[in-house]
C-alpha cells in the first residue's frame, strides 16, 4: 500500500541535518540514519550510546526495568531504593491498566501506589541498606504482599548497597513473601533496553517456574511483551477467549505474579514486543522447550494473521475453524469503519519514532488507513529490531552491553519438554510458521523511506520541515513541540489517554482517533487574520534563535 506514493529522496535533508553537527557527531549519527533500499542489506546503527547534549527521546535502565516490565504487575510491591524522584516519576504515568478483581472481588493491586526509600544524604554517605531493610519490613507489615521487588537507582550501585543480599535476608525472614532485587541503576546500558534485559533475567530467576500447577485450558499460551496500555491486553484477551485460547500469563499487562509463576506450563510463547521480552522467550524455550514466534495485534489484518498462526501451531481443526469464525464476525464492521475513515486519511503521510516495536507495528494500522510511513525509528532498539534476527550473530557486543548480565540456561532436568518435536516444527516452518524469528522494521518499509534510530530533537524538527507529515507519532516530550508546528502528534506510549488500539476493537478506535486528528478545525485557525501572508508561510518550522 505504501508503495503507491513516491517518496522524496531524503539524502539531501540527511546531509543538511548532519552538516549542523560537529564532524565526530555527524559521522556517528550518519550510521543511524538509513535511507531504505529493500534490495540491500543495510546496517542500522542502534543500541549505542546517546551523544551527550543531543536532546534524545531516551530514558534510562531503571525506566525499562521498573517502569516498563515490572510496573504493570499488580500483586507485587515495587519498592524503589533511591532518592524520591525515580519512584515519583514512574508513578501511574504509563497507563498500564489492570483488573485486580478479575478473579473475584478484593484482589491485590499496588499499581496506584508509589513506594520509595526516599534516600537522604546520610544514606548516601553511610550506606542505605539499613533503611532499605526497614522499608521492606514496613511494607511487609502494612500490606502483607506476596512479593516485593527492590529496584536500584543510580547512587545505589556507587555506594555499594547490596539490594540482592538485603532482599534475600528479608525473604528468608518473612518466609511467605518473595523479595528480590534488580540492579537496574539508571546509568546501565545505553537506554531503557538494558532494563528490559535485567527485568527478564530476574523474572526468570525468581518467579517463572515457581508454580507447576497444570493449566486448565486446552490451548495454553503466554503473551509476552504486551503491557495493556489503554486496555490492549483486555482486547486481546477478549479475542483469545472467543477462540478458546487460554492465556497463562501476559508479560506484563493486567498481570499477576501468580501468572508469571506458572508461565512455564504454557505450550507456546507469543511475542508482541520483541525488544523488551525476547530474552524470557529464549530462556523458556531452552529450559522448558516452549517454542515462540512473533505476533502482532496492532492492526486488524495483523491480528487476524496472528490468530491464524496460533491456530496453525496447535493444528486443531476445531480451533482453526473457531478462529476463522471470530475473524469473519469482526472484520465487516472494521472494514466499514476503515473505508469511512479513509476519506480523510487516504494518501496521508505519517512519521513515527517510538519504542522498540511500536514504530514498526503501527505502520500496519496506518497502511490500513491508506497512509504512508515516510520515516520511522526506534528509541531503544537493537539492530535485529530493524534488520531482523538474522543479524544477531554479526552484532558485536560493546562495553555498555557487556555489563548487562546474560544468563546461561540449560534444559530443566524434570520440566524440559519440547512442545513440538523436530519434525512437527519443520512441517510448521515449511507451512510458513517462522519460529524464533523477527524480520524487523525495515522489511515492512518502503524504498526511499528513512529510518532514524534514537532520533534527536534537531533531526526530528528538520525532517518535519522536510516531509510536512500529516501526523507524527512519538511521546509526551515531543508532543507539543510538533504540535506547535501545526502538526498533530499521536502519542504511541500513552495513546493520548485513549485506546485500546490492539486487536479488532483497537483498530476501530485507532481509525476513529486518526480520522479525528486529521480533521481538526483548530489547525486551520492558527494564523491571526491580520497577519500578512509572509508570516503565515513560516508555518511548520522550528526556530532556534534565542
Amino acid at each position: 500500500m505504501s508503495e503507491k506514493i513516491n517518496l522524496p529522496d531524503p539524502e539531501k535533508i540527511k546531509e543538511e541535518i548532519l552538516a549542523k553537527y560537529p564532524p565526530k557527531v555527524a559521522r556517528k549519527r550518519a550510521k543511524s540514519m538509513v535511507v531504505v533500499d529493500k534490495n540491500l542489506d543495510q546496517e542500522v546503527q542502534s543500541n549505542v550510546r546517546t551523544i551527550p547534549g543531543i536532546i534524545t527521546q531516551r530514558g534510562c535502565c531503571y525506566a525499562g526495568c521498573k517502569g516498563v516490565v515490572l510496573g504493570p504487575t499488580r500483586d507485587i510491591v515495587n519498592l524503589v531504593h533511591g532518592p524520591i524522584g525515580c519512584s515519583f516519576y514512574a508513578w501511574l504515568t504509563r497507563r498500564n491498566q489492570t483488573d485486580p478483581d478479575e478473579n473475584g472481588e478484593g484482589g491485590e493491586n499496588y499499581i496506584p501506589y508509589c513506594f520509595s526509600t526516599d534516600m537522604q544524604d546520610d544514606n548516601i554517605v553511610f550506606g542505605g541498606e539499613k533503611k532499605l531493610k526497614q522499608a521492606i519490613q514496613e511494607v511487609y507489615d502494612i500490606f502483607k504482599p506476596k512479593a516485593i521487588g527492590v529496584f536500584s537507582t543510580c547512587p545505589v550501585g556507587l555506594i555499594g548497597d547490596d539490594v540482592h543480599a538485603a532482599s534475600r535476608e528479608m525473604k528468608e525472614k518473612f518466609g511467605d513473601c518473595n523479595v528480590f532485587g534488580f540492579s537496574c541503576e539508571g546509568y546501565k546500558g545505553v537506554s531503557q533496553s538494558a532494563g528490559h534485559h535485567i527485568a527478564n533475567n530476574q523474572l526468570f530467576r525468581h518467579v517463572i517456574g515457581n508454580d507447576d500447577t497444570k493449566p486448565e485450558g486446552e490451548y495454553n499460551v503466554n503473551l509476552l511483551g504486551e503491557y495493556n496500555i489503554g486496555g490492549d491486553a483486555f482486547e486481546i484477551d477478549r479475542i483469545f477467549k472467543l477462540c478458546g485460547i487460554n492465556i497463562i500469563s501476559t508479560m506484563s499487562g493486567n498481570s499477576s505474579m501468580t501468572g508469571f509463576e506458572r508461565a512455564h506450563t504454557a505450550d507456546l510463547n507469543l511475542i508482541m514486543c520483541h525488544r523488551s521480552i525476547n530474552y524470557v522467550a529464549e530462556m523458556m524455550e531452552t529450559k522448558y522447550g516452549i517454542p515462540w514466534f512473533k505476533v502482532n495485534f496492532i492492526g486488524a489484518e495483523a491480528t487476524a494473521k496472528s490468530m491464524r498462526k496460533i491456530g496453525q501451531y496447535f493444528g486443531d481443526e476445531a480451533l482453526i475453524a473457531k478462529i476463522e469464525e471470530v475473524i469473519a464476525a469482526e472484520m465487516p464492521s472494521i472494514e466499514a469503519l476503515a473505508a469511512a475513515a479513509k476519506k480523510k486519511t487516504d494518501g496521508k503521510l505519517a512519521m513515527m519514532f517510538v519504542g522498540g516495536s511500536r514504530a514498526h507495528h503501527y505502520q500496519e494500522l496506518f497502511s490500513e488507513l491508506g497512509m504512508t510511513t515516510v520515516s520511522a525509528g526506534y528509541e531503544f532498539a537493537h539492530r535485529d529490531d530493524y534488520e531482523g534476527r538474522k543479524v544477531l550473530p554479526t552484532i558485536k557486543v560493546d562495553a555498555d552491553s557487556r555489563n548487562i548480565e546474560s544468563l546461561t540456561i540449560e534444559k530443566d532436568a524434570e520440566l524440559y519438554n519440547p512442545r513440538k518435536n523436530e519434525v512437527e516444527l519443520e512441517d510448521l516452518e515449511k507451512n510458513g510458521l517462522e519460529f524464533s524469528e523477527y524480520k524487523g522494521m525495515k522489511s515492512d518499509m518502503a524504498d526511499q523511506s528513512l529510518i532514524v534510530d534514537d532520533i534527536s530533537h534537531w533531526e526530528a524538527d528538520k525532517l518535519i520541515e522536510f516531509y510536512k507529515p500529516d501526523i507524527f507519532c512519538a511521546g509526551i516530550k515531543e508532543k507539543y513541540v510538533v504540535q506547535k508546528m501545526g502538526i498533530p502528534l499521536k502519542q504511541l506510549h500513552s495513546y493520548d489517554y485513549g485506546g485500546p488500539y490492539a486487536g479488532f476493537e483497537g483498530a476501530k478506535n485507532f481509525y476513529t482517533d486518526i480520522e479525528r486528528m486529521l480533521d481538526t478545525s483548530i489547525w486551520k485557525k492558527i494564523k491571526a487574520p491580520w497577519l500578512d501572508k509572509a508570516q503565515a508561510d513560516e508555518c511548520i518550522c522550528a526556530e532556534y534563535v534565542a
Binding site: 560537529p22 550510546r49 546517546t50 551523544i51 551527550p52 547534549g53 543531543i54 536532546i55 534524545t56 531516551r58 530514558g59 534510562c60 531503571y62 525506566a63 532518592p83 524520591i84 524522584g85 525515580c86 515519583f88 516519576y89 508513578w91 504515568t93 493491586n109 496506584p112 501506589y113 508509589c114 520509595s116 526516599d118 534516600m119 544524604d121 548516601i124 533503611k131 532499605l132 526497614q134 521492606i136 514496613e138 511494607v139 502494612i142 543510580c154 547512587p155 556507587l158 541503576e185 539508571g186 546509568y187 545505553v190 530533537h457 534537531w458 524538527d461 511521546g475 506547535k484 508546528m485 501545526g486 494564523k527 503565515a536 508555518c539 518550522c541 522550528a542 526556530e543 532556534y544 534563535v545
Partner: protein, 460 residues
Amino acid sequence: MLLRHTPKEVAERSGVTINPAKTCQPVGAMYAALGVHGCLPHSHGSQGCCSYHRSALTRHYKEPIMAGTSSFTEGSCVFGGQANLMQAISNMFTIYDPDLIAVHTTCLSETIGDDIPQVIKKAHDDKKIPEGKKVIYCNTPSYVGSHVTGFSNMVAGIVKGLVEKTGEPKDQVNIIPGWVEPSDMRELKGIAKEMGVKTVLFPDTSDVVDTPQTGKFSMYPDGGTTQEELATAGDSIKTLALGAWASEDGAKQLDIKCKVPFETLDLPIGISATDRFIEALAGAAKVDVPESFVADRGRLVDVIGDMTQYLHGKKVAIFGDPDQLIPMVEFMLDMDMIPTHVISGTPGKKFTAKILELCAEKAPDVNVKNGAQADLFLLHQWIKNEPVDLLIGNTYGKYIARDEDIPFVRMGFPILDRVGHSYFPTVGYKGGIRIVEKFLSAIMDRQDRDSTDIKMELVM
C-alpha cells in the same frame, strides 16, 4: 477502590515513603532555568532524569520543555562525568545555539563528585563556550530537600552566574516569585506595573511555558528574564523574596554578592499575604498604593462576604509545597474554613511551627507534618480518621478524593489532568477571587449533587 490497601490505622514509618508529596531537586532546577531568556537547561546525570523531568513539566504545562542530558554510562561513573558534560556543552551550543546553558546535577553526578565549576572552566578554556555565551550551574543532589530546593538552588545559581553590580543604583525592585505558574509571574509583573514600580522579576517563565500556537516552534520563546535585566539586579533598591523555601536563598546570595538588602515574604496568595506584599512593594519603591488596589482587594473581600455561608466551617485537607501551603492556610482561616490536615513532603522545621501558629486560634486541632514520610499515604489515613469537606492538592489527590468521595480542587505541582493553572493566576487579589470561585464551585456542585429533589436550590 483505587487505593484499596490503605488502612485507617496509622503506623509509624521511618523506612518507606508511600505516595510522596514531593519529588527530587533537578526538576525544580530545570523549571527555574526555563525562566531565563534563551536558556537551555542541562541535566548532568543519566538520561532518565532528564527524560522524567521534561515529561513531568510537559504534562503539567502541555508545552515543549527542552533540556539536555549528559547521558551517563557505566563508564562515566568510573571515570567521572567531565567528558560527557564537556561534549554536551559543545554539542548544545553547536546544534541548539542557546544564549546560555544552565547545568544542574543529579544524585549520580553528586555521588561521583563531579566538580561542575571546574568542568565549566575547562570548557571555557577549551573554547567549547562560544563568545558571549554563558554556562551557569547549581548543585541539586536528589537526596537532599525536594523539587522546591532544586528551584531555590537554581535561583541562587542564576544570581551567582548572571547578576552583577555596577555600583550605580537603579530605582527598581527585584522580585523572586518562587515556584509559581507563568500566569502568576505575569500577574506579579502586572501588579508592579500598575503600581508604577520598575522590577526585575526572576525567574520568569511567562511566555516560556505558556506560549501561543503560531504554527512555529520556538526553542527559545519570547519570555524569560533577560541577561540584561539580571545584570542590573545588583543595583536594585531591594529584593523581595516570595517564599522562604523557594526564594530566600537566592535573595541572600544577591545580598552577599551585591549588597542588595532583601525581605522574605509569603507568596501573595489570599488577602493577608497579598496585603503584606503590596505594602512591602510600595514601601520598597516608596510609592503610594493606587486606588485600583483598594477596588481589587475590596472585590475579593466582597465575594467572600457574599458567599461566606458556603465556606464557613468547611474542613479542608491540603497538600503541596510550604510556600503555597502557608498563605493558603492563612487565606482559608480568613474565610473561616478549617484547615484540618496539612502535608508537605518538603522538609524544613519552620513549616509545622508556622502552620500551628496560624491555626492556633481557629483550628487548634490541625494535623500537620512535613518532610520524611509526610506523604499522601499518611494524608489519606488522616482523612479516613477525620473526614473533610474539601481536598486541595496536585493531581495525585484525585485518587484519594475519589475513594473518599471528597470535593477536590487542583492546586500545586504537578497538575496532569486539567488546564487553566498556567493561564489564570492565583496570586494577588484577583487570583484570590479565582481561588474562591474554585472552592465555591467544588462545594456548591457537591451540594447540588447531594441535595434531594425537595431541597434543590435555585438561588444560592
